[in-house]
């Protein structure tokens, strides 16, 4: 089923098939440039650590508010706390008027053998133990990595027209949205020529992710009292510091959703071929049926 890679070099080159099951050649293309591959993996690691350390920071005040100000003396629209009940301590998550018993995961969870009151559980936070000072060191170090890496990707991708050519949807792409949605629901993945370019949902997802990451940085900076003095208009854009904090959390949830869908798609589309293309750049074009 596999072809001899020695025959395939960078760029588009067709390698002869050795398998007796097929007499058609398998086409290999150079799909991801070096910069895309490097920034992808740095970004993947960084986002992973930002979410973990962000949840540790969230644990220091596990409530979200709307507006300029808010503390536990006010009314959060979301909270993750623990509470004593007739059945002992339970994790309690509230969203607006809704109350959920989230014992074991949110609010009241096990750290080793001990049950602990903490919003997000130990296994998901960076570091695993609850420590605001250490979590902030992780968060703000990798925030710089995220910004520098992201800026390098974005500036380069705009200069070489990667964004314009490969990510920005064409008119045809927009028209094909209903079809693409149907294909995705049926788990049909493009083959042949269609597999050499991003489909419209991919384009929108990747552009959306870039937008949300920019929003993450912007809402993060809006929480900085120093940066606020430099750019007070950010407070108006996001509706106040506590709104920015809530949006920071909501955007992080969207990024998490992206990662879940992204990983599922990688598995469905052929994990070896997909992951290899993001490491070496080479991608075997799926044959047309």
């Amino acid at each position: 089923m596999t072809t001899d890679t020695a025959a395939a070099t960078a760029g588009q080159s067709a390698a002869p098939a050795h398998s007796p099951l097929s007499n058609r050649p398998r086409e290999k293309i150079y799909r991801h440039t070096f910069l895309v591959r490097v920034t992808h993996w740095i970004n993947a690691l960084t986002v992973f650590l930002m979410i973990g350390s962000g949840l540790n920071i969230f644990n220091a005040h596990p409530r979200l508010f709307w507006g300029a100000a808010g503390s536990e003396l006010d009314h959060p629209f979301l909270s993750i706390t623990s509470t004593m009940t007739t059945r002992g301590m339970r994790g309690l998550t509230t969203i607006g008027p809704l109350r959920f018993d989230t014992t074991g995961f949110l609010g009241w969870s096990r750290v080793g053998s001990d049950w602990t009151s903490r919003a997000w559980p130990s296994w998901i936070t960076v570091p695993s133990y609850q420590d605001l000072a250490d979590a902030r060191h992780w968060h703000f170090f990798f925030a710089w990595v995220l910004v520098v890496n992201g800026a390098a990707y974005l500036i380069w991708s705009l200069l070489v027209r990667h964004v314009q050519r490969d990510l920005w949807p064409t008119r045809g792409d927009i028209r094909s949205i209903p079809r693409s949605v149907l294909d995705h629901i049926q788990l049909k993945h493009p083959t042949g020529e269609a597999a050499k370019r991003y489909n419209v949902l991919q384009r929108l997802a990747y552009l959306g992710l870039i937008g949300i990451l920019v929003g993450m940085v912007a809402t993060g900076l809006t929480m900085s009292p120093g940066f606020d003095a430099f750019a007070p208009w950010l407070l108006d854009v996001f509706g106040g510091r506590q709104s920015a904090r809530s949006l920071h959390f909501i955007f992080a949830s969207l990024i998490t959703a992206f990662i879940v869908v992204h990983l599922i798609e990688v598995v469905l589309a052929g994990p070896v071929n997909e992951i290899r293309s993001m490491i070496t750049g080479r991608y075997v074009v799926p044959r047309e049926h």
Binding site: D4, A60, A68, A69, S71, D74, S128, H137, M223
Partner: protein, 266 residues
């Protein structure tokens, strides 16, 4: 064939490694956090943040000021809520009549001011947002004397770089992190750029009334554009110093000695 099989296997195991990273993270990130050299790498980011904010704030812009209607109905008090001890109780009993603010160290003209003397100096009133490092915010109105004015009166010597606030409260029990154990006495420090900022106050009033005990009576620092733990309460003495070494745990503040950043602009 053999080549690609091996490579695919390798790539496959990389994928598996990613799936397992949730477990690896637990030990990996914690071990890195404990590692002194990795701490130094991460500490570098504090310098980048401080340097970039100093550039962005070089024109000394003001922190946003709010309208009276924005004042939080209930302003959370944090840290020490009552300093305790006989000395402080005595001051409370006397309505702080004998409380004095000492300004010394590297100054040509050391000052010792009573609350009455402070209240007769020109004052500034501002409604600002207080941001706790934990994540919450509250809006309050502060009235006090600009620290810059006091420093001008004290005539700061050129060798001075920091203003250190020594406070009457003692928060014992928090262990120091990554440095020598510092005493529980609360203290804070800012550099002279922040000390001379027009919104940096030695505040004696909050929301139109004398500071209450939970919020730092009789005097507290307001250094807008930084987080709550910099807003030292119960201030008795301000020392102008050339270096933060040798004071407390040497990192410039009670929480700084316990792992928090000295520059709290983010």
């Amino acid at each position: 064939m053999a080549l690609i099989t091996r490579r695919d296997a390798l790539i496959g195991s990389l994928g598996g490694g990613l799936a397992l990273s949730g477990c690896a993270k637990l030990t990996g990130a914690d071990a890195l956090t404990e590692s002194l050299s990795f701490r130094h790498v991460m500490a570098a980011a504090q310098g980048w943040t401080f340097a970039s904010q100093r550039v962005l704030l070089s024109g000394a812009p003001l922190a946003r000021e709010f309208a009276p209607k924005d004042i939080s109905p209930r302003f959370k008090a944090n840290g020490t809520l009552h300093p305790g001890g006989g000395d402080y109780a005595q001051h409370v009993a006397e309505a702080f009549a004998s409380w004095r603010l000492q300004i010394g160290g590297l100054v040509a003209n050391p000052l010792s001011l009573s609350l009455g003397e402070l209240s007769r100096l020109p004052s500034r009133t501002q409604i600002t947002r207080h941001d706790c490092v934990e994540g919450w915010s509250a809006i309050g109105q502060w009235k006090g004397v600009q620290l810059g004015l006091l420093l001008k009166a004290a005539n700061v010597l050129p060798a001075a770089r920091y203003a250190v606030m020594f406070c009457a409260d003692n928060l014992e029990g928090e262990p120091a992190k990554g440095g020598a154990q510092s005493p529980g006495q609360y203290y804070e420090s800012i550099d002279l750029v922040d000390a001379r900022h027009p919104q940096t106050l030695i505040a004696y009033e909050m929301n139109g009334r004398p500071l209450d005990i939970a919020h730092g009576a009789p005097l507290r620092l307001r250094v807008e554009r930084q987080l709550g733990y910099k807003q030292a309460k119960y201030i008795q003495r301000i020392a102008l110093v050339p270096t933060l070494a040798g004071i407390g745990g040497g990192r410039g503040g009670y929480w700084e000695d316990r792992g928090y950043e000295w520059y709290a602009g983010i």
